[in-house]
């Protein structure tokens, strides 16, 4: 850039705001500045660590298990990350997954719907939950933390209450004998293998969602708006960005992914427990933050969130693979996550210092 400014600037401007303390950046530094690079190095570090300490981790057959673990987190961590870049939280994301699975299974069972029809209704339910979050946020002007906390409790109650009303029990009834179940299972919970690695459906969905989200965030106008809304919503509004619309779309995306995850749970396990999913919202947020999202919004990446999910899954399963004393499981998990995040932060600092 500096070459351009010296050749084409009229002499009068040479005294203008030339900030010579900032040197131009090289390509390598540009690479370092990508928000996901720290998470990538963190993931590599965790991977190398467990490759050394856990023999079962080195077994190629187990890659499928790790990827599956990462996928079930990542499918939700990616939309949650986008939402966080947009400056908002969704504490209802964990139970929304359960709500979606329950909706499909209860509707199918109670009304004797074709399973596919119930699956579509569940999509509507999930999108409505997202819409509710977004519209409530826009209407009330309350922090999203509070609005979605309300949704979190509401959904928790509805999940249990509706299940009891419909089935008389606290879990949805098994719908595996209903029409359309098998074809839906072939879509949401299929399994195949590449070599000796078992590939489950969510892995593919996770990767697809990650790629789409990454392209949208970095390369689309809407992505630019997400950054702006999260960075400074007033500034965004002042230049004509439809701030409220952006928020609603982000919540709808969370709703869509909750549906996808919920359908997987339903067709993988045939029934859904009404109390499931509580606490997962924080795992999604953790994955996004480990992957480089700022809690304050305006910065982060979809690929980073996926790497965060991978780090979380590798750590969680790596501890099992290593066969460490399980009493200390959560402690190991905490230490590993903090270390992985430190690597991430350290890389970012290095990049900023150049």
């Amino acid at each position: 850039m500096s070459t351009v400014s010296t050749s084409s600037t009229p002499p009068a401007a040479s005294s203008a705001a030339v900030e010579d303390r900032v040197a131009p950046r090289t390509g390598a530094v540009k690479l370092l500045r990508l928000p996901e690079i720290g998470a990538l190095l963190g993931a590599v570090a965790v991977c190398v660590f467990f490759l050394i300490v856990a023999s079962a981790f080195r077994n190629v057959d187990n890659v499928g298990t790790i990827l599956y673990g990462a996928a079930t987190i990542g499918i939700m961590a990616v939309p949650v990350a986008l939402l966080m870049v947009g400056g908002e939280f969704d504490l209802s994301a964990g139970v929304a997954v359960t709500s979606s699975g329950l909706a499909a299974s209860l509707l199918a069972w109670y009304f004797n719907f074709h399973v596919w029809f119930a699956v579509l209704l569940a999509l509507v339910v999930s999108l409505l939950i997202g819409l509710f979050n977004g519209v409530m946020l826009n209407r009330t002007g309350l922090p999203s933390f509070l609005v979605t906390l309300g949704t979190f409790f509401i959904l928790q109650g509805v999940n249990l209450g509706m299940t009891k009303v419909v089935t008389g029990n606290v879990a949805s009834n098994n719908i595996s004998d209903m029409q359309g179940f098998d074809s839906a299972k072939n879509v949401f919970a299929w399994e195949t293998s590449i070599g000796s690695v078992a590939i489950k459906a969510p892995i593919v969905y996770w990767l697809v969602i990650t790629v789409i989200a990454a392209v949208v965030l970095r390369k689309s106008r809407f992505g630019n708006w997400i950054y702006a809304v999260g960075g400074d919503s007033d500034a965004a509004r002042a230049v004509g960005v439809p701030v409220r619309g952006v928020r609603v779309v982000l919540y709808l995306f969370v709703g869509f992914c909750a549906w996808l995850a919920g359908m997987h749970l339903l067709f993988e396990f045939n029934t859904v427990q009404s109390g499931d999913g509580v606490g997962n919202e924080f795992i999604f947020i953790i994955a996004a933050v480990v992957g480089g999202c700022l809690l304050t919004g305006g910065y982060g990446s979809a690929i980073g969130a996926s790497l965060g999910a991978l780090i979380f899954a590798m750590t969680q399963l790596g501890i099992n693979y290593a066969g460490w004393n399980p009493d200390w499981f959560k402690t190991f998990l905490g230490v590993m996550l903090v270390l992985a995040t430190l690597v991430n932060v350290w890389v970012k600092k290095k990049a900023d210092a150049r």
């Binding site: 856990a54 079962a56 077994n59 057959d61 187990n62 298990t65 599956y68 673990g69 079930t72 199918a108 069972w109 109670y110 009304f111 004797n112 719907f113 074709h114 399973v115 029809f117 579509l120 209704l121 509507v124 409505l128 819409l131 999940n159 089935t167 029990n169 606290v170 879990a171 009834n173 098994n174 719908i175 595996s176 004998d177 209903m178 029409q179 969510p202 619309g245 609603v248 709808l252 997987h264 749970l265 993988e268 396990f269 045939n270 029934t271 427990q273 009404s274 499931d276 606490g279 997962n280 969680q316 399963l317 099992n320 693979y321 290593a322 066969g323 399980p326 009493d327 499981f329 959560k330």
Partner: protein
């Protein structure tokens, strides 16, 4: 933006509703169950209506506690009792719920003593207020000292030992005991009982609220230690998750479990789960309410100062058929 979204949503809903006419399943579902549903009617006592509070340490939406509650409800219906069910897994909060029941001057309190120290104070208050207390499920070694009238439950350690005995008999060498709630005394006792019989038993902690996470955790354990030949879970739904893990890990381990649920009964019938240790949760809830009613109306106590054990009993392929027909209504 939002108006457009709303309109689009309305359109989608309408389309789906129209489509619903043509979108019914002819197999399974509610109809199948309703067709099979039998009228469940018992005689009703003519004693004056009384109010009994049942306060447990259940988390929301737990299959096991749902069965306990159904037992209590059925007993309450039979005894002309107004049942007030509340639950909180947190010890202090559970004590608070008991305090509320005392404040409401209920006629009797049935509670779990999973966290006996937290409950000691309110039990004392309740007895001082002349409200009789019975305990169920948790607190086997503490109920008597606290002045509780009777206890209905199983000894978790004994149940664990019996499970261990049975595994040993079946040739188990390297079982893994899956704990789905960290810090739960009852679950730890079960695994400890198993470990007394089969010393090579390993522990695995999983997140009971996330089936996907449980599945990968159990899978990874099975992949890490190929010698594992028994997976013992401590809750019905978790056993079903373990069955998935077993196939993911291509493991030959057998899945056995504590506690049952409707789907688990089917799994035992289908052979994917070998057996379940049943502590008859329905009975715990039923007997607790019935005991309070008997005490109030006729001054009876059961157990003769000893705990009334409702388990352990085993459900396996041999006797599953007898249990199956009751499981459909969520009472086994």
């Amino acid at each position: 933006m939002s108006r457009r979204t709303r309109r689009a949503t309305a359109a989608v809903v309408t389309t789906l509703l129209v489509a619903s006419v043509a979108a019914c399943s002819s197999t399974g579902g509610r109809k199948a169950v309703e067709d099979a549903e039998r009228a469940r009617s018992a005689g009703k006592a003519s004693t004056p209506t009384m109010t009994i509070a049942l306060v447990t340490h259940s988390g929301p939406g737990d299959t096991f506690w749902d069965i306990v509650r159904k037992g209590a409800q059925d007993a309450a219906a039979k005894d002309n009792v107004r049942l007030q069910y509340t639950a909180d897994p947190d010890g202090a909060k559970q004590a608070n719920l008991v305090q509320q029941a005392i404040d409401k001057k209920v006629d009797g309190i049935a509670l779990t003593l999973a966290k006996p120290d937290a409950m000691q104070g309110v039990v004392k208050k309740s007895i001082a207020a002349k409200i009789p207390v019975v305990a169920l499920n948790g607190g086997l070694d503490r109920w008597k000292a606290m002045g509780v009238t009777s206890y209905f439950g199983q000894d978790e350690k004994i149940a664990g030992q019996q499970a261990g005995d049975r595994m040993l008999k079946e040739g188990a060498k390297h079982p893994v005991c899956v704990i789905h709630e960290q810090g739960n005394v009852g679950l730890n006792d079960r695994c400890a009982g198993v470990k007394q019989k089969v010393p090579a038993t390993q522990l695995l902690y999983v997140d009971g609220k996330s089936p996907a996470s449980m599945q990968t955790a159990i899978t990874s354990k099975l992949q890490q230690d190929k010698a594992i030949d028994y997976v013992l879970t401590l809750g019905g739904p978790i056993a079903l998750v373990a069955v998935q893990s077993k196939s993911s890990a291509a493991s030959k381990a057998k899945v056995v479990t504590f506690d049952t649920s409707q789907d688990l009964i089917n799994a035992i019938k289908g052979g994917t789960v070998e057996w379940a240790v049943d502590q008859q949760p329905y009975l715990q809830g039923y007997l607790a309410i019935d005991q309070l009613w008997l005490l109030k109306t006729n001054g009876n106590t059961v157990g003769g100062g000893q705990a009334v054990l409702t388990g352990p009993a085993f459900i396996d392929k041999g006797n599953v058929a007898a249990v199956e027909k009751f499981a459909a209504s969520g009472r086994r």
